[in-house]
């Protein structure tokens, strides 16, 4: 059972309380974007095998969107952070690097 802590209300929520929202930190493409950029934004995914930064919504709780660092191979949750952040905070990064010392992320 997947358990994530909502960074807003602090509740340790199990997955039936949560709605998954796919990869995080996608660059939103506006009306000026090329077809290629728009396709990439809408459909192309890194689909990471390993540490993935992703979106979740505390659907049956406070209702807020938040972000999480989760391992798609081991299902380990390294930490959660606010949806407004441009990347995982130092604590989350440090937790990931305990398991994956060379890990880095691209935005």
């Amino acid at each position: 059972m997947l358990i994530l802590t909502c960074p807003y209300c602090g509740v340790r929520a199990e997955e039936t309380e949560l709605a998954p929202g796919g990869e995080a930190h996608l660059k939103r493409i506006g009306p000026d974007g090329s077809d290629e950029a728009f396709e990439s934004y809408l459909f192309d995914r890194t689909n990471t095998k390993g540490v993935q930064l992703e979106r979740w919504r505390h659907a049956y709780g406070c209702g807020k969107w938040f972000l999480a660092a989760r391992d798609t191979v081991t299902m380990q949750v390294y930490g959660t952070y606010e949806a407004q952040a441009f990347g995982p905070n130092e604590d989350v990064q440090a937790t990931v690097r305990v398991r994956h010392p060379d890990w880095s992320y691209k935005l």
């Binding site: 997947l2 997955e15 998954p20 728009f38 995914r45 689909n47 992703e54």
Partner: protein, 400 residues
């Protein structure tokens, strides 16, 4: 009694170079290789596999075969596939135990009634033999069903009399033996670690068994398509999620049709051994573990128990998950790629087993000619940029 069995396909060590290297010795990869040899005379082929032959989703599905899709391109390729299944045992001289026992997709909401009537009309125009049947006919075809609800009453169904099941392992083994007999090399425990290109054209693949040169490369790896595409330097519109199924203890024959209940994400058939084979829904999040979330099993079983009350006393023997490759429109990708000589066949998502022969047929044509034929033309990667979706997530519901 069980003596004298011979090796069905030859053990092979990789040569330096092949005309075509197919990555992935599951049903789709093997069928691709088989039709390359049979339809196009291309036999200088290696099929390389990270694990063991048929050990991925080919061995982890619910063996359902049907072609009652809404959109024309889907109906064409799935019906091609279903019709190839009809004679596959004879063609391969290998008993794949194709059992066209009939398949009902239950309508349990008014929305589904309208949807399936529409599909029946579409299938009529496409030349796919399906029909809308009322609830009494459903009950007659499947007497163990409780059609009165209360929560999920059966209102009718979309019936495909020539839908059914086949023995999933045998499909892979039959194609493998035929490929081997044509002189192709099937190399197991051979993981691809890199893809080399020169001037935007593939030249070789690096594997755990050394470097293998190739003129053309086919990536037929389902849930790991994004990873292989990443090695070649492009991204895919694919997300990998877990899809689960489970099987009960064997019981006496009680059900001789396949029933799919898409409202509740459950589908059910009885295997020749007597086990009730139950398929469930997918998780919503990316996952490479071949395990799924428990609550999906709970949802599926809870709903099926209402429609099939006798299931409530059954013990479940096994549960498993496969990593399925989901696309944005829930339709597959058979396509050229940004890299010359590399072709992808993936995105079959939750419905790949039924498509194995047709997928191999269309993919072989794509590889041999370098451009898509009529079966695969609509399934190119460019449809995501151009907005030409083949939207089966609406047409078929989630269960595939």
């Amino acid at each position: 009694m069980h003596t004298g069995w011979k090796r069905a396909w030859a053990k092979a060590t990789p040569k330096d170079r092949y005309k075509v290297v197919v990555v992935g010795a599951g049903g789709h990869g093997l069928a691709t290789a088989y039709y390359l040899g049979k339809n196009f005379g291309i036999r200088d082929v290696a099929i390389i596999e990270k694990g063991w032959l048929g050990g991925g989703n080919t061995g982890r599905n619910t063996t359902i075969i049907r072609s009652n899709y809404l959109q024309d391109p889907s109906a064409a390729i799935y019906e091609k596939s279903r019709s190839l299944y009809e004679t596959l045992s004879q063609e391969l001289n290998y008993n794949i135990m194709f059992s066209p026992r009939g398949l009902i997709m239950l309508a349990q909401t008014e929305h589904e009634v309208r949807g399936y009537k529409r599909t029946a009309h579409a299938n009529y125009l496409q030349g796919v033999a399906t029909e809308w049947i009322d609830r009494d006919r459903v009950k007659k075809l499947c007497p163990i069903m409780n059609i009165d609800g209360p929560r999920y009453p059966v209102l009718g169904g979309l019936y495909q009399a020539r839908g059914g099941t086949a023995r999933h392992d045998a499909v892979a083994w039959g194609y493998a033996r035929a490929c081997s007999d044509m002189g192709m090399d099937i190399i197991q425990n051979c993981e691809v670690t890199g893809i080399e290109t020169v001037d935007g054209h593939v030249t070789s693949v690096s594997t755990s068994k050394g470097n293998i040169g190739c003129e053309k490369l086919a990536l037929v790896v389902a849930g790991h398509s994004s990873q292989l595409a990443g090695m070649a330097g492009f991204r895919m519109p694919i997300e990998s999620v877990a899809l689960q199924a489970l099987v009960s203890e064997p019981i006496k024959p009680c059900m001789d049709v396949v029933v799919m209940a898409n409202t509740v994400h459950g589908y059910l058939s009885q295997s020749d051994k007597g086990e009730m084979v139950i398929g469930g829904g997918t998780d919503g999040f990316n996952n490479f573990t071949q395990r799924g979330s428990w609550h999906h099993i709970e949802e599926t079983v809870r709903a099926l128990v209402e429609t099939f009350p006798m299931l409530s006393r059954l013990k479940m023997l096994r549960q498993w998950g496969g990593i399925v490759d989901m696309t944005g429109d829930r339709s597959p990708i058979l396509s050229t790629t940004p890299v010359g000589g590399i072709f992808v066949n993936c995105g079959w998502g939750t419905g790949g087993f039924k498509a194995i022969p047709g997928s191999g047929w269309a993919m072989a044509e794509l590889i041999a000619k370098g451009t898509p034929g009529p079966l695969s033309a609509e399934f190119g990667l460019n449809r995501f940029r151009e907005g030409r979706f083949i939207d089966e997530s609406v047409a078929a519901g989630v269960a595939h």
